[in-house]
Amino acid sequence: MGDILRLVAKRLGLGLGILLIISAIIFFMVELLPGDIAQAVLGQGATPENLAALRKEMGLDQPALVRYFDWLTNAVMFDFGNSIVTGESVVNTISARFANTLFLAAYAAVIAVPISIVLGVLVALLRNSIFDRVVNVLTLTSISSPEFFLGYILILYLAVKTGMFPAISSLSNDMNLGDLLHRTFLPALTLVLVVTAHMMRMTRAAIINLLASPYIEMARLKGTPPWKVIVKHALPNAWAPIINVVALNLAYLITGVVLVEVVFVYPGIGQALVDAVSKRDFPVVQACCLIFAATFILLNLAADVGAILTNPRLRHPK
């Protein structure tokens, strides 16, 4: 157990270093974007004097390096500053949006992860059957379609034609959980369709890979039924790659859903990031990107720890 704690501590330390590098890269990428924030805020009618006045008000008359280190010293003390454009605190601007994104990601994951793993086991069991083919074709079709297109298809059949679910997933404060789940079902289903194929195929491949091993042969020879061979003997050894793919897809659910947000009018963090980039609002861009980076780092760490915990050889190294 002590090894795992040491590993977690080491990886978290490395993660902080990575975040620092990422923050510098993001800052200079935003700097490199063509166009001028003051011009973007004031539009066509702006005069040179009021552009200069606005730049001064936003602190843009300082050199880029000074602005970056100002931001960094505050960020180290967990003060992410204020949006350049609106003057609102960054934490206020994005915390509610990030919570919405987490909710949608969790909703989709709760449906998608069990379905993919169960489907993966089933198709491994019934491999090369009609069932296997059909499931593969369907999931590969859904992962190959652009997600906004899947969204439109679902809207057409489940919202416009049958009226079973609302076409837009705008939220309000007085919703109870049931309303919330009903309203956000279509975006969640879209995400489920997008991520299922990857996890299902990895489960299938990992299990089938193991089925050629001698110990599976042994289990079969002693007369274990096929489903038991897979669930009891193959699956435990297949967890490591499956957990990795699940973690990757969870990270995608949090960071890559801006198109789904737009199609379903869901107030998540992706749209906030796009708005901030178009206005060159550096503190907000920075905060969103660091959240995304931290999500990847933490989920990868979780995947590695999970892989160790499910593997006795790694749990008890000689």
């Binding site: 702006a46 601007t93 509610a96 416009v160 609302p166 737009v262």
Partner: protein, 536 residues
């Protein structure tokens, strides 16, 4: 539509319907006698007879162009959500009425000195902020001064460039003192930046709190997501029939239209032209297609060959079939242009100017006269100018072939179009946002020394008239001036104006309005919240 219908009779019929002194059957009967078709009469009955607005209900609005970076400072208003917010929660000194005329808002009346250099606005004593305070002259003073001064960051600063001083007269009125005459100042006060804000103790305007004196006050607001607004019972104006207005930011046009079709919202701004016909077939949906002062222009540099020859310019103006562009490029969601930058949606529109027709034969003979037969010219355009911009240029080039003109369409990259092509290439395609008056538009882009004189057009008489019109307080005389300026720009100017894009939006059929809609912005000049109502 038939031109021979009897307008006087129709007006009387509409009045009678409104007063309830006429039945539907007689209305239809007399309307037919007045030369109105049955379907048009049904529509008229709907808009007139039920024109007694009803209070109540929550209007749910799908609004395009809202961003997380939207904010409360009116000097930085830019997105459509912010402009809609300005007209719902805040108020202005004056407003553009549904019929396109100028009407009172926080200022109940206004007058100018005969030289049009001093304007006095008398404030409505009923105007009240959402926190219960009365609107005072000091508040208005602080609000306007927010956009003036050396360190002002407001985008409306240049609009108020002529204002030298604003004085509180102490009798609930304020006076603007101008450097030069400007007969249009009350029109300029409708600009969406110039909202009335409460003054702070130090005399600056309080825009941070979001308190306004408009028809609705904020109940919930999250920029980039939407807002919920409830009626301000002490509002000084007439209307505000809805109990609540819920604005939802839906940036995806498809999602807006779907939400409207499924009834998740009651009205949606900015529709896609290509799906208009499909949407209009839905019996539950009414589409509003309103002339605007936005414009598509194609300025030729009048000091560069071959455009320095007025006959060549005229030949190019005669070689475009404007109606076909309106029909095929905008799917009917535009108003035909006439080569002078004064849309029918602007005040003082000179109706008597004849429409320029497509006449390739005449163009051919003009080119012969100019010795420029078989003319070849480049027309620069880019996709980002307007939907179908490149297609429009190609269609124009096909039209011009009949006149023996070879227009080569140059497709420029979207990035950098406004710095590398506009004002640089001798002939290009341009999109213009709406401006409130012809004077603002002409001063900005047609005055001989304007920085944005995109066609490099120099016409002494036009510039003389421009100054005259700006100082003229007599509306009849101004109409004459703008007629003559329109004729000059149309016949001598260097700009081909194919069309003025319309504002297109839609509502569920239980949402009603008076039948006339302000051309200032989308959604009844963004005053839908106070002007529309639910059918009983």
């Amino acid at each position: 539509m038939k031109k021979n219908k009897d307008q006087v009779l129709m007006d009387r019929l509409a009045d009678a319907a409104r007063a309830g002194t006429i039945s539907r059957r007689s209305f239809m009967h007399y309307a037919a006698a007045a030369g109105v078709t049955a379907s048009a009469a049904t529509g008229l009955w709907g808009t007139s007879a039920k024109a007694a607005p009803k209070r109540g209900g929550t209007l749910r609005v799908a609004q395009h162009d809202g961003n997380t970076s939207d904010q409360h400072d009116p000097g930085k208003y830019q997105s459509n959500f912010e402009i809609g917010y300005g007209h719902t929660v805040r108020a202005y000194l004056t407003m553009i009425n549904a019929d396109g005329t100028l009407g009172p808002d926080v200022a109940k009346e206004w007058s100018a000195t005969p030289d049009a250099k001093e304007w006095t606005f008398v404030l409505d004593e009923r105007a009240t902020f959402h926190n219960g305070n009365k609107v005072t002259a000091a508040d208005v003073l602080a609000s306007i001064n927010h956009h003036r001064g050396d360190d002002a960051t407001s985008a409306a600063k240049s609009l108020l460039g002529d204002v030298v001083e604003i004085v509180d007269n102490g009798d609930h009125s304020i006076t603007f003192k101008l450097a030069g005459p400007n007969a249009d100042l009350p029109w300029l006060m409708t600009d969406y930046h110039l909202t009335v804000l409460p003054a702070k103790a130090d005399g600056t305007a309080d825009w941070q709190s979001g308190i306004g004196c408009g028809p609705y006050k904020v109940a919930e607001l999250e920029f980039g997501v939407g807002g919920r607004f409830v009626r301000h019972e002490d509002w000084h104006g007439e209307g505000a029939w809805f109990d609540e207005v819920e604005v939802l930011v839906i940036n995806d046009p498809n999602a807006r239209q779907t939400a409207l079709v499924t009834g998740d919202v009651d009205t949606a701004s900015l529709l896609e032209n290509k799906t208009l016909m499909l949407l209009a077939r839905d019996p539950n949906i009414e589409v509003d297609n309103i002339s605007s002062a936005q414009a598509i222009t194609m300025p030729m540099h009048c000091d560069v060959a071959p455009f320095d020859n007025p006959d060549v310019r005229m030949a190019l103006k005669l070689s475009i079939n404007r109606q076909e562009l309106v029909d095929k490029i905008t799917f009917g969601a535009a108003t035909i242009g006439n080569d002078f930058h004064h849309s029918p949606a602007m005040p003082y529109f000179p109706e008597a100017i004849p429409q320029r027709e497509y006449d390739p034969e005449k163009a051919k003979s003009l080119l012969k006269k100019a010795g420029a037969e078989g003319l070849t010219v480049n027309l620069s355009t880019a996709d980002s100018i307007t939907t179908g911009a490149v297609d429009a240029a190609i269609l124009y080039s096909e039209h011009a072939k009949a006149a023996g003109i070879n227009i080569k369409v140059v497709r420029e990259p979207n990035d950098g179009y406004w710095s590398d092509v506009w004002l640089v290439k001798p002939w290009c395609m341009v999109t213009w946002g709406a401006r409130p008056t012809p004077d603002v538009m002409y001063s900005l882009a047609y005055k001989s020394d304007a920085a944005w004189n995109e066609s490099h057009w120099q016409n002494e008489r036009f510039n003389e008239l421009l100054l005259q019109g700006k100082a003229e307080l007599d509306n009849a005389k101004r109409m004459e001036i703008y007629h003559e300026m329109g004729m000059l720009a149309r016949d001598d100017g260097g700009t081909v104006i194919p069309y003025f894009p319309n504002f297109v939006y839609a509502r569920r059929s239980n949402v009603k309005h008076t039948g006339s809609l302000s051309p200032a912005w989308q959604m009844d000049g963004y005053r839908y919240a106070s002007r529309w109502w639910f059918e009983g």
